[in-house]
Symmetry: C2
Subunit: 527 residues, 2 copies
């Protein structure tokens, strides 16, 4: 069977392949028929050159056209929702409904529409004008963006349709999407619709390009090539840090979203007040989607009390009552088994699970482990290993001091939650522990599990290293996520007619927020 | 003579020194008497631990106190202006007036006052509230900041008083200042006044700490230590890239301001219209302060015409008419001679200068070199070597195509200028060349030389790699420069009384700009 073509320079063309691969239905292990190429460097090189031309073309276009592309793409995804959900279901084992048709596709479409609105509005670029000295600046497109998507969100984080893609396009950049090898058939459909929307909106032909896969060496070369502007990567820590090292050495911005155990602290008053409800929330969040979320609650700090044992017992029952779904791949199942083994070797004890589940599908038992705070503190590095899947480590601490030590030993995470009672009984403890958790997470929650990342201007889907590569940026939420893919451009004494539209005296759309002479305003300069 | 003490933990204490050094008066080469320590790792380690405590203390303080510190520090610098100018003059050879008393000290004081205003106002942190889902976020202090200042601005970029210092403090962080070995006596005075202002405002004792110098290994370890938040560095490319590599590998944000040749393009119509005036402006800018500015115009693109030869001749006369001042150090003089030699070896021809000037002082003749566009394009890497000092390379191009090729071969720079005629004769050329220059510089100027960096909200003192490490940030200008030293913190469903003040429903000062439900406003939430 011939290799599937890649999308370069506006055309589906033969790949310069160094190998090939097929995707597999994780529910039964059978491969799909199509052979997809592992692209060699000539494909990357051609995509880069085409992207440079597209970047220049985009820079000369009114941003209405970019918004139109994003809107048309969203509409096309809605039109093709059934085919998309079916295909993604086949490659991931995740249910068509509610997961794809009711949650992930609507979210993806919503992100694209929010990005369109942000592009049209233009306020994301923080236009700043000092009229007295005719000095003006704003953020502007950074150049071609490589977007490398993860295994667990074939739509919402896809290199060819997800949040990074939407943000990179909305800020004016062409995207070179790198697919995830688990779902090439899905991203092929996304790229097909993106390409259609490029035509609908009349954007440069190479605004969206797709390479399904590549050798690590070519990937490293791609993210450090002088022609790119930036890279966005969502995935494993190992691959992400290799990409970061290469991009950093080349002076290229790189935005990572890596692993996270998402600590949850349940204070004693909360356990006493509503232990069973918290056990239920925790199990629901941890078991959702086979636990294959970057915000999966995988690390729970509990105070050693009798009521805590009840909570653990209730969680155990819930973990055992739910049939484990097929995981995304044999690799995910193997990695989960290895992580659980590492946690056990470091002293964690099994509460339930801890073993593979027989086929069909790559399955692993829903797994709860526990360890004392004292034991955790003897091996804090290993015992905060992410076990990607429906697995969590419960850490029982003796007192506030031990809880503080445990939190103090945590690496950077995307999220951290604290449950406390509603009558103020936990407030003193909260006051002691919240600052420690705050420093280690991007999003601090109260009385809430971390799964479910709202696409809101106020979201931070980011956090301290090594959860990401820079704690100042978020991968989700407009307009902030657009600012990752931008450079600051200043105009000093530049003649009025030569200024970019957002920096002219006249507000280009009457609603763009600009910092004019120290005041945020939607008015014209001098008005 | 005993070693001068370092400022650690709020006290001037004995250094754990691995060596010592003295500063030198560059006007006559005589050393000053004080011996300053080269700190070993124990000093860095102690400063880091103290800074962590200070960071926690600052986080718990109202931002009014931080503003008060910055204001008091500014006042103290004004009070001590004569002593400061005298000391800096002694260590740099730069004139007390106008350079220090009329330009650099007022600018430094102005930066501190602008930082105080930004801290008080709070809008810099981009508070963002989604009231419907009670999701709130803002930028917050990143943690202890290491500020490493350059040789050429003993005040305005000093680790203990300059723009990076002011921005890091205003965003709520303690600073570990690393002095430049050329002017330890000056930074000692700055740290003394900073320490006094820390007392005046009641900030944590370790808010400002000072190490005069350290071995490279300790510096590398310092910027990659888990206890720091970020590093700001202004200086040479070699040292800066070593620091960047270490910080990157540790996942620590690092902001660099490195070398830049600041290309100036003079279009033919401008030469015909006002060649002598442009020659004058160029010579004035290039010779200012011995040319020892990061925005010194060191690379001029001219079209090969008879009138251009007149302009070059006028510039030559001006370069020869001005007596070269003492350079900052023997190292600067040596490096300038080496750079000029490298340019000549790559094919540049001397127009004037090109040799050391006899003592007293470390002097080098004002130097103009020239090369054709064709020759430049044969060795573009070497021929864009920065010659730090009063030296510039003139590149004469045949036509627009060659000009475009020259600009296309340039690395990232802080600034780029284009001079064009006032009647539209150069507009077509401008349209061809400006986009090429725009991509390669942080600040694009029209009809203006790049020296003089206004401290304005609209300034970008930054640019593409390798002028800096990230093109999205500026080192000068409030409020944007504060955002380098911040992490994004999100609060999801956090109870009202636990929110940081800027994210509560009530606008804390009635003038903080916040993005509430998609609109920038100074009002309370719900008002």
């Amino acid at each position: 069977m011939p290799l599937q073509p890649v999308l370069i320079g506006g055309e589906w063309r033969h790949a310069h392949a160094t190998g090939s691969f097929r995707s597999v239905n994780p529910a039964d292990g059978t491969p799909f028929p199509e052979e997809f190429p592992v692209s060699g460097w000539p494909d990357c090189d051609a995509a880069l050159s085409a992207a440079v031309a597209a970047a220049a073309g985009l820079a000369a276009m009114p941003r209405e056209r970019i918004a139109q592309f994003l809107t048309r793409f969203a509409e096309r995804l809605e039109t093709n929702a059934a085919e998309l959900a079916e295909t993604a279901h086949g490659e991931t084992g995740l249910p068509k409904a509610p997961r794809f048709t009711e949650v992930e596709l609507p979210r993806t479409v919503n992100q694209l529409r929010q990005a369109a609105a942000a592009a049209l509005d233009g306020s994301w670029s923080l236009p700043t004008i000092d009229s007295k000295i005719n000095l003006r600046s704003c953020l502007a497109a950074i150049g071609p963006v490589v977007v490398i998507g993860p295994n667990n969100f074939p739509f919402a984080y896809s290199g060819a349709a997800g949040g990074d893609f939407a943000a990179a396009i909305a800020s004016g950049n062409p995207v070179i999407a790198k697919g995830h090898p688990l779902h090439p058939r899905t991203i092929r459909l996304l790229a097909r619709e993106a390409q259609g929307a490029v035509g609908d909106a009349g954007l440069p032909a190479s605004t969206v390009q797709l390479l399904y896969h590549m050798e690590p060496d070519s990937g490293i070369r791609l993210v450090s090539d002088p022609r790119i502007g930036a890279t966005a990567f969502t995935g494993s820590r190992g691959a992400g840090l290799a990409i970061k090292a290469a991009a950093d050495a080349a002076g290229k911005p790189v935005y990572l979203e890596l692993s996270s155990v998402n600590p949850v602290v349940v204070l004693p008053g909360a356990v006493a007040e509503r232990g069973p409800k918290i056990a239920e929330e925790f199990a629901g969040s941890c078991l959702l989607g086979g636990g294959q979320f970057c915000t999966n609650p995988g690390f729970v700090v509990l105070f050693a009390r009798a009521a805590t044992e009840d909570l653990i017992e209730q969680a155990r029952k819930r973990f055992e009552a739910v049939t484990p779904p097929p995981l995304l791949s044999s690799g995910v199942a193997r990695s989960l088994a290895e992580s659980v083994q590492a946690l056990r070797a470091a002293g964690a004890q099994l509460v339930t699970g801890g073993s593979p589940v027989p086929p069909p599908g790559f399955r692993y038992a829903n797994t709860l482990l526990r360890v004392t705070g004292e034991r955790f503190l003897a091996a804090p590095e290993t015992l905060q290993t992410e076990a990607f899947g429906s697995a969590a480590l419960l850490v029982t601490v003796r007192d506030a001091r031990e809880a503080a030590a445990v939190l103090g030993a945590l690496h950077g995470n995307l999220t951290g939650s604290i449950y406390s009672d509603s009558r103020g009984g936990d407030d003193a403890l909260y006051g002691q522990l919240a600052p420690l958790l705050r420093e280690r997470v991007g999003r601090l929650l109260n009385d809430k599990m971390p799964t479910g990342v709202a696409v809101s201007p106020a979201m931070n889907h980011g956090g301290p290293y090594p959860a990401t590569g820079h704690p100042g940026f978020t991968a989700v939420g407009m307009p902030a996520s657009l600012r990752r893919f931008a450079k600051l451009q200043c105009y000093d004494n530049v003649r009025a007619e030569r200024l970019p539209v957002p920096l002219r005296d006249k507000n280009p759309n009457g609603r763009m927020w600009r910092l004019v002479d120290g005041q945020w305003t939607q008015r014209d300069v001098g008005a």
